[in-house]
């Protein structure tokens, strides 16, 4: 199976990336080569194998439901591209 340029454009969009004409050509070639590599996995019988969720088969820890973070919004927002009234600003979504 092989990806077309149209499919690669769609994948790029899903990942919120835009590709130039040249990037689209290169990526179509490279993505197909990488997926070709992945096709090798088809040779292995994995029917009764549990997928590995964690290298050490650990479960997620739970903690008590209490506030542990202090308010650092000023500190964190000092590096944001655009803020106002403690919000992160982006172009208007709803008029």
């Amino acid at each position: 199976m092989s990806l077309s340029e149209q499919q690669v454009t769609q994948i790029a969009y899903l990942a919120r990336l835009s590709l130039s004409e040249a990037e689209l050509k290169d990526n179509t070639k490279d993505l197909n080569a990488i997926l070709g590599l992945a096709e090798q996995l088809g040779a292995i019988d994995t029917d009764d194998i549990e997928p590995m969720a964690h290298p050490l088969h650990m479960t997620q820890r739970l903690r008590t439901d209490e506030v542990t973070e202090i308010d650092q919004s000023e500190n964190f927002q000092s590096i944001a591209p655009s803020t106002g009234n403690k919000h992160y600003l982006v172009p208007t979504v709803i008029e």
């Binding site: 590709l19 993505l31 080569a33 997926l35 994995t46 969720a53 982006v90 172009p91």
Partner: protein, 482 residues
Amino acid sequence: MSIHTKTIAQLAQGLRDKEFSSVEITQHYLDRIKQSDLNAFITVTDELAMQQAQTADEKIASGSTGILTGIPYAHKDIFCTQGVKTSAGSKMLDNFISPYDATVSHQLNQADLVMLGKANMDEFAMGSSNENSFYGAVKNPWDKNKIPGGSSGGSAAAVAGGLSCFATGTDTGGSIRQPASLCGITGLKPTYGRISRYGMIAYASSLDQAGPMTKTAEDAAIVLNAMAGFDAKDSTSAEQEVPDYTANLTDSIQGLTIGLPKEFFSEGLDDEVATQVMNAVKEFEAMGATVKEITLPNSAYAIPTYYIVAPCECSSNLSRMDGVRFGHRCDNPKDLEDLYLRSRSEGLGAEVKRRIMIGAYALSAGYYDAYYLKAQKTRQLISEDFKTAFKDVDVIMGPVSPTTAFDLGSVKDPVSMYLADIYTLSANLAGLPGMSIPAGFSNKLPVGLQLIGNYWSESKLLNIAHQFQLQTDWHTQTPQES
């Protein structure tokens, strides 16, 4: 012996004996960094380093010191450092002054270390040659036309080139061991969960693990003592006791059983690299170890497995690089979608985009079972192979990389680059600890020997490596200064 060829253990002794001060050795390293053309650093924190060195000297004078007090090091630019640019080698984070410290950064500060600067790396740790850095490729100190390896290429070049006493690294698919091998230094990737990932910019969260890159195994043990431990801020941090990693270095390795996986010595491995690795194994036999051939039948599938699992995780982890809360934002976005599309497309490099797209595709509806689920099942099989092997052997040995360092710019297509990771990926997929130690030279370029141990066997690996370094002098060789 000059300052920059001394180990941590030697510098610590010199500091205690008042042979030199931390300010003096820090200045020595800063001068060398200034004169260097290796491009090993993204940011040099000279003022901060001199302040930290002064504080360290005061502590040494008052007698309240640990072994790492006043030792200068290079910190991989993937660890958040409060008030200091943390770029992860990406244009996306070129303006990112971290508002907080990674747990590792905090631990190293607590140990009164001196941070010389932030080491260059492949963008978001994706690469095997350090050519994917927004800040340009790093040069190998042994031959400046060669790659230093990646992704911790700046860290390896800084240590090998005498620009820092040691460095931190991270290893998702070999990013500590492979550059350590290609630059002729000692590198340790601990068991998954041994060192906190909090504040270590995530690439593939189920594989990422930090570790020390040093001149010797003894130094690696000293640094691991400072880095290891449980951290409540990292949900995958292991609640596992931290031993003193220096305690067992001098144990005898008489009776050690070494496993050599036949798959690690098959086609694709450079003859001269194979010879050097086998010579090192013979050295262990002379020290009383026995050697056994073993098989890791599914290790051949490590490359396709890794290059599905890691991109899937990265496509999720890097979705936060969107130009909204931090990092690069495009000029004059016309709407929210334009903001996302252009900020990400301008801020991220070619290899990062490639892996994000592979991940986005492999996780998308209709393809999840064929790619991600299949890869996670294969990962289980790769892990089972090691479990079987460790019933019979104490440690697995083999090459780190199929060749020595290749020419800068010589490998152009991504798949060929991925194939060079063949021997390092399995340990990450299984979550096992691995090391690279200097084991010889081929054509004047360093060759590393890889050690892979069972879970939580870092002490054993360091012991084996230290015993080898007592018998050999490969780790004391330094590149010629030009």
